[in-house]
Assembly symmetry: D2
Homo-oligomer: 268 residues x 4
């Protein structure tokens, strides 16, 4: 099979596949001859999948159907929620993209990388002509992020530095920033050097006290404008035509988003 | 002034500018020698802005400051809310981008164009190597959209057709779709022809009854999977460090988002 | 007509009536011979209503129907919203009743009376054998409240004092309290004297900073337990069977509710 | 100790006690000499509690403090959530009280009793001069409810009938009703006979489809007015002065509330 088709429209050996049995049984696997995927709904042989086009339905050993799909970035991110709390969610990523006016070719600063999900979201949209400069203080987190970014095939457009951004960053003239750290007021001077005037920034903060302190700090510096504080709530429904209803529980809080734009310094 | 700088970092004659006095007084203007911007906070002469870098603070006649910024796409969209209700909001655009796995180079179908805001969001992210094929049944709406898309400088990557998509679309092998029309069940067969298997689709629907009918239709066709129904709520705060509180009123409903992915047809 | 029936089941001269034309045209009137109620949907002569049982439908001059109902307390309260913001809403009153374990016979303290709506809610439920002791610092507000409480026929079970509660209250051994003032930390010692140990208290606070300061103060005193912070959101729908959907806008914030129970003092 | 004091201000043998260690460790016990309450934070001997005033702090074997309080009705209800989903929550009870204009002396109909929590809420507020007539089709549920109502000391003001309310109820001239059953459209004629004109009714319904069907049925009968559909969302915070934030997860849906008032029949 030609390189061109493999992983693009056909689920080949070595390609990733989302195997979706139902809304609670969704698995991301790398397809390998001889391997099987086990679940309480039956067993799926990878060999029954390999070589079939994405979008195909295959039968598990139990006779139940699963559909084979290319995993989207959001599928990887939502899968990651099982392992780690307090991450930025796709509901937040979405509005961050809009607030930052993100588009291909942009050069974006990221402070606080976590698992690299947000890095991947940014890197995808800035495209091969853009770049993401990511700073992470913890070596172990940076390693996790590096693996995730590589797995997503985005390593060429991400520069990941294991360093304390409070001591400064190397870049200048960047177009936008995402800051996910507990004390973002400690990097305002860094942002002011690294970003171009007018650049939009989103700060992600779990607790209200952090929001208040950041608002106070932004005001004092006299070079930030258009500041907004917002929260995004995602309400998901049981998707049944005959018994539609919101899910009983929901994620009611991931974090607050503080948005602001860097300006030139205003006179006192 | 060189072309390269004008409108990129400097607010020149003919460039767009967001003039932000405070959170309720935000104006988007095209800068023209001799013109003035009037507000209840005083008057701003365009000539006091032209030639200054974006991010600058300028004084109105009253002594109050305004900041001059490049308008983001979201600024144009939010401004549009004054004129038209029931549009897709940035909170929805954000999660749509995530659900569709949108990235540079994708070819996207849009059915129901409205004011062209969603078209612009999609076109920005697919970039110069991607394309958006947009179908709008109403000639007057299509004209509004065409002007908005041109103003955003995105006309080269959008094909806008004034036609009833229920009769079919011209494209094949598209990567994703956004459908904003009252009876989306009437275009499922069109989507199934135009999209590549596995392609994600988001349907935007104001009323619950529409969601139910669409869910029923998707189920019957046996070639859709991963269906989700969701709503995004954006809660905005008064951004004051010393008196932080949610805004008294909020937009509590724009529409429901139904997500699904096209598959090959499942056996009965 | 006998006293017993008048205003109980029949809309008589002098009785209050809720005239409901549709969900946006709802009026509370005192019925008087010879008077008319005008609206953009036509005119209603009070004489067409007087003497008819509550629950009757009457025709306006335009032929449109209106229904005549006894006003509930919530009807009076919701009508009041047109005139004054930042009041406690029925959504908040409801959970306050539950949190305070309110029932007939209870003796309740209220600090900060506003328009007297909350006073009326409390007084209604504690019944003729209970009592509400209400403190209001502003004479003008107290007057408004006094009129509202009298109109509701609840004056016999409410003692309204125009006084600064921070200087102490006269009562002892009260069962519960509602506190609606900007600086509730200034009355904690007053509550501790006036309430019986175990008594539940709800504080109503518009801004987050107030909540934080109150939480800090409660902790320091070592005689409060079971503290909770909550918000109630009421989402209302367009009640149409064929086009059900949430209303476009909603009241997204009235205030935060801080709940706590007074205890004996804990050793350090 | 005199009867008058026991269980009123002092935690005696046989009295109920809420033992609150922290927000996740809250227990309701009946105090008995010689018994102990075990928890992962240590052991509490009932004998260390008996005879002490409510509001007292006692030490567990570990040295950790617990506070001893009279359980409120809401404490019993919230404890019940561990055992049974899909019940009406206090957030719903609160607004129900307001919508029904509930007060001492009222005679209320309840169809669908469940665990009896809602019955208890209603019975508490209508007081000794009011009454609640409750219909439950399932004998096992009615038994659970009967025990709960007796435990709450409210049996004298509740008549619990194990019967299918769709076949009619015995009462006439009732003041209000709460209906919690899957097919409330099947009892509209029963409500119309049993309630006094103008009486407010709240229907509790988990799924949207039920709401739609009920709205359709109410419209057809031409004797209902002021219909509203609403949802109450309760958002709870981590109550820490120095790290205030909403809880990560919340109950996003219990059920929809449909409110309406019975009227006389309108002409076609």
């Amino acid at each position: 099979m030609s390189e061109d088709v493999c992983c693009k429209t056909v689920a080949c050996e070595g390609c990733p596949a989302l195997v979706a049995i139902d809304e609670r049984r969704r698995f991301i696997v790398t397809l390998r001859h001889g391997k099987v995927l086990g679940s309480d709904r039956g067993v799926l042989r990878h060999d029954d999948v390999i070589g079939r086009p994405y979008g195909s339905w295959v039968k598990l050993s139990s006779g139940v159907y699963a559909v084979i799909l290319q995993p989207r970035l959001i599928d990887y991110i939502e899968r990651g929620f099982k392992r780690k709390s307090q991450v930025i969610y796709p509901k937040d990523h979405g509005i961050i993209i809009m607030l930052l006016d993100l588009k291909p070719g942009m050069r974006v600063l990221e402070i606080g990388v976590g698992s690299g999900f947000t890095t991947a979201v940014l890197a995808r949209i800035v495209g091969p002509n853009g770049h993401v400069y990511s700073y992470e203080i913890r070596r172990d987190m940076a390693e996790v992020a590096r693996r995730n970014i590589e797995a997503a095939g985005l390593a060429d457009r991400v520069t990941l530095r294991v360093r304390d951004a409070r001591d400064g960053v190397d870049e200048r003239g960047l177009d936008a920033a995402v800051v996910d750290m507990p004390d973002p007021w400690a990097v305002l001077h860094v942002l002011e050097e690294a970003l171009t005037p007018g650049a939009p920034v989103v700060f992600f903060l779990p607790a209200i006290n952090q929001v208040q302190r950041l608002l106070g700090a932004l005001e004092l510096r006299r070079c930030w404008a258009e500041t907004r504080v917002l929260e995004v709530l995602l309400r998901e429904y049981e998707a049944r035509a005959d018994a539609l209803r919101p899910r009983t529980t929901m994620i009611a809080h991931t974090g607050y988003l503080v948005f602001s734009r860097l300006t030139l310094r205003r006179e006192a």
